[in-house]
């Protein structure tokens, strides 16, 4: 069974349809990168998967269960798919450790001491063992995003969705975040990553999806989609984004 499955998903804002009939599945342990121009619906798609947006047509299924924002199970479902945001979205009034421990303690009601111990380990794992008690404002963008990744991991999710996790970072900080993501991929974490980092997509992704104007134009292994794109729209996009 796929961890995430989209079948003929449509999403509109008012009259304006921004996702047109998108279908794809993500298997356990798979890393799927979604690329595409700005405004093509990448964020909206992730937000629908996490139940942060409603969708109007088709079906999104996570671990066999339909994602339905009106359902009483939606919160439970959200705890199983974590999200890492472009702008980190850490809780500024809580330390790095508290940010990571917040969900497990207050949402999942896990025992506090065990959660704190695990959260410390997670922060150490993303290279922030020395910053456990720092507040987000005291951290660089790259460090904040690594805390956000630790926060996602703290939920023990079945999959993590990343929405352009390095786009808000200074160029010299991108590498440290990508390195953490790469190690997660190596450990078998299921990941859906919206990114403009073509190098990351090429080396880490099992599959690349090209989204344009709300349409899933093309998908396949990175060496095919990125090196030998079949569709003219993909070719055009890659020509503009990759320095030749």
């Amino acid at each position: 069974m796929s961890i995430i499955e989209l079948r003929n998903v449509r999403k509109s804002f008012g009259q304006h349809e921004v996702i047109h009939d998108v279908s794809f599945a993500v298997e356990k342990g798979e890393v799927v990168c979604i690329i595409g121009p700005s405004g093509s619906g990448k964020s909206t798609l992730l937000r629908c998967i996490n139940g942060l947006e409603t969708y109007q047509g088709g079906e999104i299924v996570v671990h066999g269960e339909r994602v339905d924002t009106g359902s009483s199970r939606i919160r439970q479902l959200r705890t199983r798919v974590a999200m890492v945001f472009q702008r980190f979205n850490l809780f500024p009034h809580r330390t790095a450790l508290e940010n990571v421990a917040e969900g497990p303690i207050f949402v999942k009601k896990e025992p506090r001491e065990a959660v704190l111990a695990r959260s410390r380990d997670l922060l150490t794992r993303v290279g922030l063992g020395a910053k456990i008690d720092a507040y987000p404002a005291q951290l660089s963008g790259g460090q904040q995003q690594r805390v956000a990744i630790a926060r996602a991991l703290g939920m023990n999710p079945d999959a993590i969705l990343f929405d352009e996790p390095t786009s808000a970072l200074d160029p010299e900080l991108v590498g440290e975040v990508l390195a953490v993501m790469r190690s997660l991929a190596d450990e078998g974490m299921t990941m859906v990553v919206v990114t403009h980092e073509m190098g990351f997509a090429r080396e880490v992704a099992d599959r690349v999806l090209f989204l344009d104007g709300g349409v899933l134009v093309e998908q396949g292994p990175p060496e095919e989609v990125l090196s030998r794109p079949q569709h003219p729209r993909t070719q055009d996009f890659l020509r503009r984004i990759l320095p030749s």
Binding site: L52, R75, R78, F85, F88, H93, F106, V107, R151
Partner: protein, 218 residues
């Protein structure tokens, strides 16, 4: 000066009875306005259209009516509708209602100052509305709202003198009554003004201190 001091000694105990009522009206109305203001604010940010609309209407209507008229309404009109209140009760309820829109706006501004991304992050880890409010929004909103909340209390302290219009012998009315029976206008109204200052200045100072602390805490 010594004349003033010896007179002050005579008048102060009488004025203190007024102070007692002033404090009672201020605190009572403050608590009520806080409660109502929280309700209006939560209704407005609930995302539920009829609730938001109702709260907005209440705020606009109450804010458009002078506080004194609200007091008259509670004290003189309510008995016709079968609800008799003492002057003190009417003053507390009337001022509490009259001040609730300001409270609501203070709280709403605090809540809306929280970046939307945090709400999303909270939802994405499975928080529901009440956890989101308790753990994420309110702790931060309080920092934003506390200074204006404190200033509202100072305004309310001064406006508690409106209670005199419905016969509550709070500080200003007590002063007026005392003055009209003794003709010591200068001494008495100087005392009354000093007593108001003695209450409002520490509040204002406490407020500025709080504001500085909130700002330091990031």
């Amino acid at each position: 000066m010594s004349h003033f001091l010896s007179q002050a000694e005579t008048f102060l105990p009488i004025l203190m009875q007024g102070v007692y009522l002033t404090v009672l009206v201020t605190l009572g109305a403050f608590v009520l306005a806080t409660g109502l203001g929280l309700v209006w604010a939560f209704m407005r940010v609930s995302g539920i259209a009829p609730l938001a609309w109702t709260a907005r209407t209440i705020i606009v209507v109450v804010r458009g009516i002078p506080g004194m008229v609200t007091l008259f309404y509670i004290y003189f009109v309510m008995p016709d509708l079968g609800l008799s209140l003492t002057a003190l009760q009417a003053a507390i309820i009337g001022l509490g209602i009259a001040y609730s829109p300001y409270m609501a706006e203070v709280f709403r501004a605090g809540i809306e100052a929280i970046d939307r991304g945090q709400t999303e992050a909270a939802l994405s880890i499975g928080m529901g509305w009440s956890l989101l409010m308790r753990r994420v929004v309110l702790p931060q909103a309080i920092r934003v709202a506390l200074p204006p909340y404190g200033s509202t209390m100072v305004m309310l302290l001064k406006d508690s003198s409106l209670a005199s219009t419905i016969t509550v012998a709070e500080l200003s009315l007590q002063g007026k009554l005392l003055a009209s029976s003794t003709f010591e206008n200068t001494t008495i109204f100087t005392l009354v003004a000093l007593i108001y200052l003695a209450m409002s200045l520490p509040l204002t100072a406490f407020n500025s201190w709080l504001e500085r602390r909130m700002r330091q805490a990031r």
